[in-house]
Subunit: 192 residues, 2 copies
């Protein structure tokens, strides 16, 4: 049996409890993958047909813009699902990299296996739907922060609502996630 699987299953069960039957069907398709700091889970340009549940550690999703600046678009820590959504859903080349910021343990499942499980088990597809809905609401929240708040307010929001991120993610990565420059973020932190 896959080490750490119980913890993963518990996390999943909170979102939508699966029957014993589904769990047993799911288990063989789950694999463990470890990454050391700076390893890539997903590379920009590749078709990313894997979904990662982060058991421990922390990752960033980013891409390079026209001026070769890195834009960080998402961060994931324990219990988050790291997936290059566009690529995973459409099986087209990934627009982003996903990279480990710490040594990171994951459970991986492949797109084609999920597809098979979706076909066979309605309730697994339900779980998939609920996860997509949750993910959507989370991204929408970030989008609204960016539509609404000033640099300082963005930092305070993230500090209040995602303090783990501020602790664990280097500021230089947080800045572009918040849509501001590193120096501005640094200054905004100084104020109160």
């Amino acid at each position: 049996m896959l080490p750490g699987l119980n913890k993963y299953l518990h996390f999943i069960q909170q979102i939508y409890p699966l029957s014993q039957e589904s769990l047993e069907a799911l288990a063989p398709f789950l694999n463990h993958k470890s990454f050391v700091k700076k390893d890539y889970l997903v590379k920009q340009g590749d078709i990313s047909n894997e979904l990662f549940i982060i058991m421990s550690g922390c990752v960033r999703e980013y891409f390079e813009d026209a001026h070769a600046n890195e834009i960080n678009t998402w961060f994931g820590i324990e219990n988050a699902i790291a997936v290059s959504t566009y690529s995973f859903f459409s099986l087209k080349p990934s627009l982003t990299n996903i990279q480990a910021l710490e040594d990171t343990e994951t459970i991986v499942i492949r797109q084609e296996d999920i597809q098979k499980l979706f076909n066979e088990f309605h309730e697994i597809e339900r779980l998939g739907r609920l996860l997509a809905e949750q993910y959507l609401v989370q991204i929408d929240e970030i989008k609204i922060i960016l539509q609404t708040l000033s640099a300082k307010q963005r930092y305070e929001y993230i500090l209040q609502h995602k303090p783990e991120l501020v602790q664990r993610i280097p500021l230089k990565y947080l800045a572009s996630f918040l849509g501001i420059k590193l120096e501005t973020l640094s200054r905004v932190r100084g104020q109160k």
Copy 2:
């Protein structure tokens, strides 16, 4: 039979073709609702348990911030699905209003009916999953624009990728959607 339903079904069939059986099960739960300009499809604070497919017309989603400014978070035109996602998925009070910007014809389906259909028809739940995934990718695209681009670049992006929006949505609404002020948007349009 519901007028306009065929067109709606065609739109849905492109995302995931449903069997005749599912279509027949779905049809009785679809209703037509018309809105005149300025009518509300969803009111902030209400639990919004309806999902609207826009047959014709155009809507905005917005909320009022702390200073009673309206922040427009989303726009929908023909074939878009208008839904207060957070409220619809969690059945908690809506954080946003959805308002008709033109006279608007919609097909409505209720959350509890969708739930029943999801329970009964796996393939309808699959359609739901795929729609959630599509919606997610669209929102993520907007989020990345806000993380990355200057006022001028945001306008150019939207002009290039969603020209219908620029034509149909008053600039005063587009501005907050792009995370900038009306005057800045106006100026940025002037340049070239």
